[in-house]
Symmetry: C2
């Protein structure tokens, strides 16, 4: 068999896998936005059947043979061949029944978690979580290799080539800076600003859509819907984001939308010539998160953008029902969206505390996968650690161990990519400030064009052409580390609180 | 291998196929209700990938071997084994690339058809239809066997065990009765009643949902959404119907909903113990259509039900925006929803003309599959036949050859099941009148309970336990034929028009 024929067959198989992965994501989106209550059982079977189809394609020995024939591929083709090899090696280690069971249990797990969270009852979720952890430990054992531990093997599914030990190194440098900054801010005791008014849901959604367009979302290639948990799924011509609405707190809807739009614009900006192929897919979850956090925080919470946003909120949320921006001026909005307070909920957390939540989840989930922490002891371990890290006693499971969807969906190894993504966002932000000297003027005018062009060329279009860490290094001009993020936070909060 | 182990493996494989078929239907529902405009290309790849996964499972030689081992299965197990054998034999004859190409082309075809229909431009659709017809002819050729022609093989996918020759026999007895009745009604020259008022979309949808519940739809196990074309997809715990709204014509929304609710209640009533297995699936498309037409016509357009509906419309569509039922009394509503006029659009057609539309489509699509009619000549053939059958010249392609979605979706062999379904609905209606003597009193009260219980036990719960024609025969107590439908129509229109 010649290399060209082998590549053609590999790419056809990869496109099928890519399309089925989109279907899997779409089933999950539907489950979170609109599936009727009694649809859960058959949705789990659908998710399992799609996962089995993906697994069958990836584990097929023929794919491994084809990869050997196509070893001379160049450019994006070489990336696709290498990714086909990686996919195949991983899938071939996992028994088909385990792959199906993982998907089925994760789908059912989300329904159980939603009910347990609503009742703030960890005991109602624990048996399901035990099953999920057992399956993930079995998967990790299948995937582990000499030199690659079980947790690392799971992490590799989200952040290729990154190990927990490497993350430990960078996180151990990040943590003291965050703790020290949080302490200095707390010592200042600045009052937390509040919002006044009611902001009708329809007006919030309309403004979220308008601002999403300003951030580059192509509404011909995606949707915005309501869900309990903001999320982004899909790719290229069909990217679906969700947000939530609190009529007393328009910032929640808007900043959730900015975050998800960051993910979405990345997916919409991938190379269409490599559609459904790895070279045209997101580089890693940390790179994904760098885009969402950049939009939400470094851009969305900047003083310059808040000037633009204040006007947009006054125009879009005002009118006879009151509303407007809910604060007196743009500077008050800037202070509001950068308020620092140790809370219980990760997704509502300020930029200083956010990564402390992640570091805690990272340690807990490693212990679950290692078997050194039992699910039965998880709630106590969570509450103990939270008290130590945040100085507050967790009042209930809803605001504690049940707050995040990830473990119910079997996503172990995912959490640390959030903090790595924040670190990457810090680097990208510094590079944007360097390369676009008038960035603040542009943000004040609501003009994201230069930012989008920068990201499109250096991140989006490159897909998986190089490993994620290298992608960021080439985009910003040096090896990424935690200092840009810490410098950004230190400088911002110095300005806010006169530290 | 023992028979029990073989059956377990067969049923596991059938459940995977069943779940993937639900996914395929769901992708189509999404495409018609909410997919963003640029999602079409990757949706086609998703549809092709799911179709390929189904085809791979069904064509797997292992499934054929297992069927041989499980030959001693009894009861529902025997039905599932037989259906596994049938699925396998059909799939094994079709090359995998053809199966994928059919799904891809059908998905893309719908997008092309929508645009061509909006522009009323058959030439814009013809190249796509040519490709679809070529693929369906290739599929039919693969599936044909000695004694089973190509069209029959396609028909068998929708109406197992039924041949075009059998349908010709029963349709040739139906047609003269319909033509004669249409002539007698036309000779009376009764004025067509009209509706007065505006009926807000939200109120129509709320009433449609309320009445859907009266007809037995479980809203915990399904949804109602808007789409250009009313449809029903999904099964069991997740059945999704769509309807449309015209603020000048509430009957369009309501009767479209009654029709789709008929399909939906059938799917919701299947045996949960046989979930995702053939024994727990709809018997055939004609049986499906018998349920939708029964709800829409024999029940929904009955004088007794119109009394109930008039009150519901007055209550649900009234209020400050005017509206109400749009006619003076229940009898006027009954006359309105039973008005007879030869129109151009099948789905808006009265009960007398409806099947003449179907008989025309049946003949045209057989000629396309046989190769005796070229796609290039289809529009002219349509218009000529329409003039002959309906006495009217087709004004444009939108109201002619482009009006139906089926051919764009590759659904050849589907149309005649509509008329067979109407014939079955006629038989079921006669049996309901026999078995529920106070049916009219119940319908006047909006009480469908006895009807639903009758259908649940005799149709829904039986799934595919016996072939479709036998199912109807056992439900009504004799072999079904066209006379019950003709008697029902003759009697109803005699009452309406004093014939």
């Amino acid at each position: 068999m010649d290399a060209i024929a082998a590549y053609d067959e590999i790419s056809a198989r990869l496109r099928r896998i890519g399309a089925l992965e989109q279907v899997a994501g779409f089933l999950n989106w539907d489950q979170e936005t609109q599936m009727p209550p009694k649809g859960g059982a058959q949705r789990a079977e659908q998710a399992a059947a799609v996962a089995s189809a993906i697994h069958d394609l990836a584990a097929d020995p023929r794919l491994g043979e084809l990869v050997a024939f196509a070893a001379t591929a160049q450019g994006p083709d070489a990336v696709n061949v290498a990714e086909a090899g990686r996919l195949h090696r991983r899938a071939a280690k996992v028994p088909p029944a385990l792959a199906a069971d993982l998907a089925r249990t994760a789908s059912l797990g989300q329904e159980v978690w939603i009910a347990a969270r609503a009742a703030s009852d960890f005991a109602a979720f624990a048996p399901t979580l035990e099953r999920i952890v057992a399956l993930k430990r079995a998967e990790a054992e299948c995937l582990a290799e000499p030199g690659v531990g079980g947790y690392d093997a799971l992490l590799d599914g989200f952040e290729p080539g990154t190990t927990a030990a490497e993350l430990d190194t960078i996180f151990s440098r990040l943590r003291p800076g965050l703790v020290e900054l949080a302490g200095r801010i707390a010592a200042k005791g600045a009052p937390v600003p509040t919002v006044a008014g009611r902001f009708p849901a329809a007006a919030q959604m309309a403004l979220a859509k308008k601002l999403g367009g300003d951030f580059g979302f192509d509404w011909q290639a995606g949707r915005l819907d309501l869900a309990v948990h903001p999320s982004c799924s899909g790719s290229a011509g069909d990217v679906r984001i969700t947000t939530r609405v609190d009529e007393a707190d328009p910032q929640d809807c808007l900043y959730s939308t900015f975050h998800e739009v960051g993910h979405a614009v990345y997916e919409q900006g991938l190379d269409p010539a490599q559609a459904l192929l790895p070279a045209g897919m997101h580089a890693s979850m940390a790179v994904h998160e760098s885009q969402s956090r950049l939009f939400e925080n470094q851009i969305g919470r900047s003083r310059a953008f808040c000037r633009f946003l204040f006007g947009e909120m006054q125009a879009g949320l005002g009118g006879e029902n009151g509303g407007g921006a809910g604060v007196v001026d743009a500077d008050a909005l800037w202070r509001l969206v950068n308020a620092v307070a140790p809370g219980f909920i990760r997704t509502e957390s300020d930029e200083v505390h956010y990564n402390l939540h992640i570091l805690m989840r990272f340690d807990l989930e490693r212990a679950l996968i290692a078997g050194s922490l039992a699910v039965a002891d998880l709630e106590a371990a969570w509450n103990e650690r939270f008290l130590a890290d945040f100085g507050q006693a967790v009042p209930d499971a809803r605001r504690g161990v049940l707050q995040d969807v990830h473990w119910s969906a079997g996503l172990f190894g995912y959490f640390p990519t959030y903090t790595l993504g924040n670190i990457y966002a810090g680097e990208i932000h510094a590079a944007l400030r360097r390369d676009i000297p008038d960035l603040d003027d542009r943000l004040t005018a609501g003009d994201l064009g230069a930012v989008l062009a920068w990201l499109g060329a250096r991140i989006d279009r490159r897909g998986r052409m190089v490993p994620p860490r290298q992608l960021i290094a080439e985009a910003v001009g040096h090896e990424p580390d935690e200092r840009a993020l810490l410098d950004y936070l230190g400088s911002k909060y110095a300005g806010l609180h006169d530290l």
